[in-house]
């Protein structure tokens, strides 16, 4: 009987292992999960202070404010997506793995969304109350953010992968990623606006879904290519 | 001709400031990029010639190799 054996493998095992590892690691680093949420709340607090506490005015701009603040909070959390793995060398190990890198990258992004984007989406209605967001739009707010933030995680991961090896990559990351976020912002905030006006939101949500589909099919490969560039550079 | 006189042409029916500002900036940038490209090429050739002369004097190719890495850092600017 051989002493050493190649581990039973296959892409499925590797993906599940990556998911589990990243979940555990992120749960240990509670601050990484909570920081974006606190940032979200803080930014929303800044607007009434900086603009006006008038509920009617806030209600008019609430959809956009909530979406922009959530978007920025998601952006903030991106830098740490690959950084700690890059720093301790486990990213390089991931690249050496025989399993398809796009699938593993997708697993990492999925965990990131689960612990960043989704919480932001669930917290948003609370902040919506503080901005006098009109009734009938709270569910759409959460739904559009949940759907949209998945795209934001995927697109943002490309930028994070490109800049993970750079010394001041964080600033550059924002420049790279924010223009690409704009379509998601337009249809996400648009969905909430439509809900307030009583118009149909299905078109907006459908487009958000389409954007997510495009991101899901293309981003993993871009992320993988970008990771290889950053590691080999 | 769409204009009766030179002054009418420059005035552009009251919109002269806008038309000439737009055309002016465009022209400046077009000309500017050409000037920059030509200066870039001239400086490059000057540098290459200097290196070729140095290599001749010293009779070694190691000079060229070190200068190449200097050029690489320089190339980042464009």
């Amino acid at each position: 009987m051989p002493l050493f054996r190649e581990p039973e493998g296959g892409a499925g095992v590797a993906i599940r292992a990556t998911l589990k590892r990243d979940l555990v690691l992120m749960m240990r680093r509670r601050s990484e999960v909570l920081n974006p949420l606190v940032f979200f709340a803080l930014v929303i607090t800044l607007f009434p202070i900086g603009i006006s506490p008038d509920p009617e005015l806030l209600a008019a701009i609430a959809p956009g404010l909530l979406w922009v603040a959530a978007l920025l909070a998601a952006l903030l959390s991106l830098d740490s997506l690959f950084r700690s793995d890059y720093d301790d060398g486990s990213l390089e190990q991931l690249l050496l793995s025989p399993q398809p890198l796009p699938a593993l990258a997708l697993a990492k992004v999925a965990v990131h969304w689960l612990l960043t984007g989704l919480p932001l989406a669930l917290m948003a209605p609370l902040l919506g109350i503080m901005l006098s967001l009109p009734a009938g739009s709270y569910a759409v707010l959460a739904l559009s953010l949940a759907l949209g933030s998945a795209s934001l995680s995927l697109i943002g991961a490309i930028g994070a992968a490109l800049t993970v090896g750079l010394s001041r990559g964080g600033v550059l990351l924002s420049l790279l990623v924010l223009p690409l976020y704009i379509p998601v912002l337009i249809f996400g905030a648009g969905a909430v606006q439509a809900a307030i006006l009583g118009d149909g939101v299905s078109a907006h949500l459908a487009i958000l879904g389409a954007l997510l589909a495009v991101a899901l099919s293309l981003a993993p490969w871009a992320i993988a290519a970008s990771l290889r560039i950053s590691i080999n550079g | 001709m769409a204009f009766d006189s030179l002054s009418a042409f420059l005035a552009m029916g009251g919109h002269g400031v806008y038309v000439w500002a737009a055309w002016g900036v465009t022209g400046l940038l077009l000309v500017g990029t050409v000037i920059h490209a030509r200066a870039e090429r001239r400086a490059l050739l000057r540098d290459l010639r200097r290196r070729a002369r140095r290599a001749q004097h010293h009779g070694a190719s190691s000079d060229v190799a070190t200068s190449v890495s200097h050029q690489e850092g320089h190339a980042r600017e464009s």
Partner: protein
């Protein structure tokens, strides 16, 4: 034919071939832009509604077309570099980017200036200008990313990936922004569809567009040639060339 394309990939051959092509594009650019400008500024009729400020279209539209075309060219060049490892493609992509950003700025500036007599404001968040502004940021991103890497090969590959990601997003961004704000006039010029303008107005526009494109090709050829010299400086043919040039 493949042999010709393969030859183009060699820096030395590209340098030689482009030497012969360059002058034609400069001449074409000069002639077309001078004729187009004279026609557009002095001979074309003023617009019924906008008067003479309409003449800004003769720089705004060519610049806008170039701004988008250059980004697409950059992405295509990046793709060619990533797939076939042709370095000349990457050199061209690197040299194109600043001109693309400059043209985007020209489109923004001329569009904004045009807005003053037309809408009474220096800036308008309409679909066209907003898309152009986003495009300018995309250019800045590619240029900044290329400059951030110390290894040239990493810089080239990263810029190629970003350019490709950007180019996929450009139609998505355009569609989104168009949907978001439908104030700007519909596109007045398209090669395939019937123009809404009379011939006296769109003919000089076509000439200017062709002139700008010739300018882009001429300038990119010139700068790519410089970049070839820069990157291949330690090759013998470059050293010999430098020795010949007085």
């Amino acid at each position: 034919m493949w042999a010709f394309i393969h030859k183009l990939g060699s820096p030395k051959w590209f340098y030689a071939i482009s030497a012969r092509l360059q002058p034609w594009f400069w001449v074409a650019a000069a002639v077309l832009i001078v004729i187009g400008s004279a026609w557009g500024l002095a001979f074309a009729p003023a617009d019924y509604q906008q008067g003479n400020s309409f003449r800004i279209i003769y720089v705004h539209v060519p610049a806008a077309f170039l701004a988008q075309s250059i980004f697409v060219s950059m992405a295509v060049a990046g793709f060619i570099f990533m797939v076939w490892k042709i370095k000349v493609a990457d050199m061209a992509a690197a040299m194109m980017a600043p001109l693309g950003a400059a043209m985007t700025f020209v489109a923004l500036f001329s569009g904004a200036v045009w807005g003053v007599p037309t809408w009474g404001t220096w800036w308008m968040w309409d679909a066209r200008l907003t898309s152009m502004l986003i495009l300018l940021f995309l250019y800045f991103g590619v240029i900044a990313l290329r400059g951030a890497f110390t290894s040239r090969d990493s810089a080239s590959r990263a810029a190629s990936v970003l350019a490709m990601v950007g180019v996929i997003n450009i139609p998505i961004i355009k569609y989104s922004v168009d949907w978001w704000y439908t104030l700007h006039q519909p596109a007045t010029f398209s090669v395939t569809s019937r123009p809404a303008m009379p011939m006296e107005m769109w003919a000089p526009l076509l000439i200017m567009v062709l002139g700008f494109y010739s300018f882009f090709i001429a300038l990119t050829l010139m700068r790519t040639r410089s970049e070839i010299l820069r990157r291949e400086a330690n090759k013998r043919w470059v050293r010999e060339l430098a020795g010949e040039v007085s």
